[in-house]
Amino acid sequence: MSLSKETLMEMYLRMNHARLFEEKVAYFFSRGMVHGTTHLSVGQEASGVASCMALEDGDLASLTHRGHSQAVGFGLDINKMMAELLGKETGYCKGKGGSMHIADIDNGNLGANGIVGGGYCISVGAALTQQYQKTGKLVLCFAGDGSANEGSFHEALNLASVWKLPVIFFIENNLYGMSTPISKHMNITDIADRAKAYGIPGIIVDGNDPIEVYETVNKAAEGVRSGKGPVLIESKTYRWLGHSKSDAQAYRTKEEVQQWKEKDPIARLKKFMLENKIATAEEIEAVEEQARTNMENAVEFANNSPEPPVESVTEDVYA
């Protein structure tokens, strides 16, 4: 197996960070400290984190509006993420982006996107840079099931395919686009089927199984890096919480949500490590404790950070 203990423990830490981050954001939101909107990814941590863990240094990623787990998975600093959510100057975007625009371009993070499907074309362009400059790096393009009905999905997959660009389209199929179930927004059950139309591989993974996600991305990355062109991975998963800030969730049943909670990706990784004697219960608890401490520190960092000066409102429109 390609996964070392070290990688697994780091994956576990990041998945815990991701879950705790969302819990904090939900709390801040309820207190009116985070404004605008946020799309929480609780339940999708294996998709967001394990996929990124399979990347190499120098690989890039573009994230979705539901991007906190993806950002944490990519290795972004939770202090700067939390500061950005609180609109602080120390945030990733100096408080100008917020939840939907967390980005770290210098380190290959092409940003979350407030436009559904907005990451497809950007990712294709970033992959073109990698191909042209022969960097050997690839782009992991996150997207949601609903976004696969945007025109950009089709334009991007087709171009990436004919140009054999190093990009993995990683679709987190959480069965709904806002309130609309996939059965009402496309006439197929597997988005991976669409890959065929572009002459590229379409692979389905259990998006709540971190090991499977990691190994699938890892394997796909090999072919992508070697110049075989893009791959579409459909990660079947589920969001536990509502779509965004106010969602009565009339479109789904409590039973359905409960069924998916039983497939908790974090609990699953813990079980995997215990059953395979990769780590002891104490070691695992220590990681959980570490994650909680780190998150408290992130909150403190964010709370203690200054607001951006009002004069900065006109800065950075142009380079």
Partner: protein, 329 residues
């Protein structure tokens, strides 16, 4: 300065080719721009010189052409893209407006998006409603984009080179009727005209006309006619439509006391209104002897029929009439 006579479209070709020779990170993409040389033959020969890795034929996919340019630009390349017709930016708009234009600001100043989008625009070719629009005002309404247009071959070269070297997304509007226009163009491969600088095309004392693109040449015709009648007109070409060098315009209006804006784009919501408002908010207001007039395209789609098409854009007579009006003649 050593000069060579060439067409506007060859000047554009030259600007792109020179920049590609200088900087390996400059690439060019678009629909049928390779062997075919582009819908208007602008890039003829570039495929042969630079090869398919740098002159890239794309599928008919305006959204991904534009979005991929943004993604490539944000990660280190300097792509130039050709939209076959400016009209097709409707399909590229999300990637242009919500992605390329926003990245730098919304990411806290950390991204640079040095891309150039070339946009063949304008009427007069008989291509009718979906292939003849002048949509530059839309683009000027999006902070984060720069909008540039050139009215002569030399400026096409100098301004396009500046656009390619600029670290921001630049929309470069090329009026299709200018492609065949000939003019003297500096051969120096460092001939670059700064963005954000208006050009005084002709000095004068009685009226200031602000105009750009093909219509500028029609304005010149009108000006020549009225000068024979003793009216002295100053003609200013902003060249960079956004962010515009308004100072040159304000200074000119302070001198002449009268201003007219002329453009081919539809009047309502066009740049004419913006420039008129800018003048009335400026210190030039106190110097005005007449209201600022707009001579612009009719608020209609571009029709096919030759006579109807001609009726949509400002004519020499309409421009002359506006001059007489502000002069109270």
């Amino acid at each position: 300065m050593e000069m060579k006579e060439m067409t506007y479209k060859d000047a554009i070709n030259l600007a792109m080719s020179e920049e590609m020779r200088k900087d390996k990170n400059v690439i060019f993409m678009g629909e049928d721009i390779g062997l075919y040389g582009g819908a208007f033959g602008v890039s003829v020969g570039m495929f042969e010189e630079f090869g398919e890795d740098r002159v890239k034929d794309t599928p008919i996919s305006e959204a991904v052409i534009t979005g991929a340019a943004a993604g490539a630009a944000a990660t280190g390349l300097r792509p130039i893209c050709e939209m076959m017709f400016m009209d097709f930016i409707t399909i590229a708009m999300d990637n242009l407006v919500n992605q390329a234009a926003k990245m730098r600001y919304m990411f806290g100043g950390k991204a640079k998006v040095p891309m150039t989008l070339r946009l063949p625009a304008g009427s007069g070719t008989g291509a009718a409603a979906q292939h003849c629009q002048s949509l530059e005002a839309w683009l000027c309404h999006v902070p984060g984009l720069k909008v540039v247009t050139a009215s002569t071959p030399a400026e096409a070269k100098g301004l396009l080179k500046a656009a390619i070297r600029d670290d921001n997304p630049v929309c470069f509007v090329e009026h299709k009727l200018l492609y065949k226009m000939k003019g003297e163009v500096p051969v120096d491969d460092e001939y670059v005209l700064p963005l954000g600088q208006s050009d005084v095309k002709k000095e004068g004392t009685d009226v200031t006309i602000v105009t750009y693109g093909t219509i500028l040449h029609r304005v010149m015709e009108a000006v020549e006619a009225v000068e024979k009648e003793g009216i002295s007109v100053e003609v200013i070409d902003p060249r960079t439509l956004y962010p515009m060098d308004t100072e040159t315009i304000v200074e000119s209006v302070k001198k002449t006391g009268r201003a007219i804006v002329v453009h081919e784009a539809a009047k309502t919501g066009g740049l004419g209104g913006e420039i008129a408002a800018m003048i009335s908010e400026s210190e030039a207001f106190d110097f005005l002897d007449a209201p600022v007039l707009r001579v612009a395209g009719l608020d209609t789609p571009i029709p096919y029929n030759r006579n109807l098409e001609a009726a949509v854009a400002p004519s020499v007579d309409m421009i002359k009439d506006a001059i007489y009006k502000v002069m109270n003649r």
